[in-house]
């Protein structure tokens, strides 16, 4: 019953969404070159199936690579800011400023810095757009650790490393996964931004771009749907990881 609700209800919502979309296009009598309808999509998928597979894979691995770098660098920056007040005061304005820069402006800079390194540039942009929430959440998690938690271990002579592994790190995990859910979609946006904006891009973003230049509207919408599905899949991978590593933070609902 619970499984039914968890799977059937979201599926129903999607079906309703597709029907509404189809009805909207039909009611307005929009032709394909104004807005594609869901019934146009299967044809687009079957025609370009191989491009979807290779493009999807390229988008996927570069997003995951960028996200992994963001996790490592974001956690390190968060640790530095969480443990040192001076570092926090020094780094916060810098990070906020960096985060406020529209990442589309970074695309040409990266492209000029590392000419032709398309994979590298894409991973870099995915990383740059997604590490901020991770760094902030880890630093907040660490800096708001109640002193008593530290004292129960410190009074036994435990080292700072032990306190970090036994208490500070696991206690920060719920915040960390909250941030990772935001970061995973951001990284995904970063990857696609680079793929779409930079010339000679690869991945689903480039496929979208080629649909645009060829005025193949059903292809463009098919790419958007494929991106949404990939995004949902990535998000739920993070949710599954959260269940495994921070499931304890979930209160039983009554």
């Amino acid at each position: 019953m619970i499984a039914l609700r968890k799977i059937a209800v979201p599926l129903m919502a999607m079906v309703v969404f597709l029907i509404l979309w189809e009805a909207l296009v039909w009611a307005n009598g929009w032709p394909n070159f104004v807005m594609a309808s869901p019934s146009d999509l299967p044809q687009a998928y079957t025609r370009y199936w191989e491009l979807f597979l290779t493009g999807g894979w390229q988008t996927l691995w570069r997003t995951v690579a960028g996200l992994m770098i963001a996790v490592i660098v974001g956690t390190l920056i968060g640790m530095i800011m969480g443990f040192s007040r001076t570092a926090r005061e020094a780094l916060y304005p810098l990070l906020v400023g960096f985060n406020a820069i529209p990442k589309a402006t970074v695309v040409p800079i990266l492209a000029l810095l590392f000419v032709g390194q398309h994979d590298f540039n894409t991973v870099m942009l995915a990383f740059m757009i997604s590490f901020f929430p991770i760094a902030v959440s880890v630093s907040i998690g660490l800096s708001t650790l109640e002193p008593e938690y530290r004292d129960i271990l410190r009074s036994l002579g435990a080292s700072n490393a032990t306190i970090f592994w036994k208490i500070a790190l696991p206690k920060t995990l719920p915040e960390f996964f909250g941030a990772l859910k935001v970061a995973v979609t951001l990284a995904f946006i970063g990857t696609n931004l680079m793929e779409i904006v930079s010339p000679h891009g690869r991945g689903l973003g480039a496929l979208f771009d080629s649909g645009r230049t060829n005025a193949d509207y059903p292809l463009m919408f098919a790419v958007l749907i494929a991106l949404a599905i990939l995004g949902i899949a990535l998000f739920y991978v993070v949710v599954a990881l959260e269940k495994i590593f921070a499931g304890w933070a979930e209160r039983p609902q009554s």
């Binding site: 109640e146 008593e148 129960i152 271990l153 009074s155 435990a158 995990l173 933070a249």
Partner: protein, 260 residues
């Protein structure tokens, strides 16, 4: 095992933006081995500072804190602490929470650690809750688990910083009983910081009344009620007399009454 605690002319001040803030002023107290000392006093008079000095988490500006005759120079494995906030680790079961200090101190095998923790949990009435998460327990039960954790490694010195302060009155009285049970079963020198005069009379051998900041030991009251105390004994004439004495001393410490 237990060790005597002695404070020898301890003076301490915190550095603040507006200059040093003296908290402890030439404090000398001796706590014999195995004794139970309660410390009461006005809010913010430096009681918690005292616990951090004894635990070796801070060093006093002047004077010496000794455990078993040895000056305290830093944290040591023979100290146990419990606070008003039970600070249990939400991702661990109750049993694993109690085991935590043993992981730091080391020495016992995995089964020995578990047996020791189970033994204590049974002693405080938490048998059957070993595998529960802290969030599944009531406040009083969490505090019981926290007490188990503070003594699981057989500390020579137990420092209790208002561990019953946030509990409702009846739960608190239950935990006082539990504290007596623990004291009978385990041996440690105990310092209890509290705001509750009944608690100090029910639990301690002697109660130290701190003056307002910077704290001195304004008065030390021997609680001569014997070792086996029940809650009813709190209403016996001698206990009432002790409570009245302590009450008066607190009012003097707060500056509301002049000492005779």
């Amino acid at each position: 095992m237990s060790l005597p605690i002695s404070l020898d002319h301890v003076t301490h001040a915190y550095k603040t933006a507006s200059g040093p803030l003296p908290v402890l002023d030439d404090l000398s107290i001796d706590m014999p081995e195995g004794s139970f000392t309660a410390v009461v006093g006005p809010s913010g008079c430096g009681k918690s500072t005292l616990t951090r000095l004894i635990a070796g988490l801070m060093k006093p500006d002047e004077g010496i804190v000794r455990l078993g005759g040895q000056p305290v120079t830093g944290p040591r494995k023979t100290v146990g602490m419990a606070f008003q906030n039970p600070v249990l680790l939400e991702w661990r079961s109750i049993l694993q929470n109690v085991i935590l200090p043993l992981e730091i101190v080391g020495g016992l095998s995995k089964t020995q650690r578990e047996d020791r923790a189970r033994e204590l949990l049974a002693l405080v009435g938490l048998e059957g809750f070993e595998d529960k998460r802290p969030s599944e327990l009531s406040g009083g039960m969490r505090q019981r688990a926290s007490l188990c954790r503070s003594i699981v490694h057989r500390p020579e010195v137990l420092i209790l910083d208002e561990p019953f302060g946030a509990l409702d009155a009846f739960t608190r009285e239950d935990l006082w009983q539990t504290m007596h049970d623990l004291r009978r079963a385990e041996r440690f020198t105990c310092v209890l910081i509290t705001h509750d005069l009944r608690e100090s009379v029910f639990l301690s051998d002697r109660t130290v009344v701190f003056s307002a900041r910077p704290a001195r030991a304004q008065r030390i009251v021997e609680i001569d009620l014997g070792d086996t105390r029940g809650l009813d004994d709190l209403y016996a004439p001698r206990a009432v007399e002790l409570l009245a004495t302590l009450r008066r001393e607190i009012q003097i410490a707060q500056g509301r009454e002049v000492a005779q």
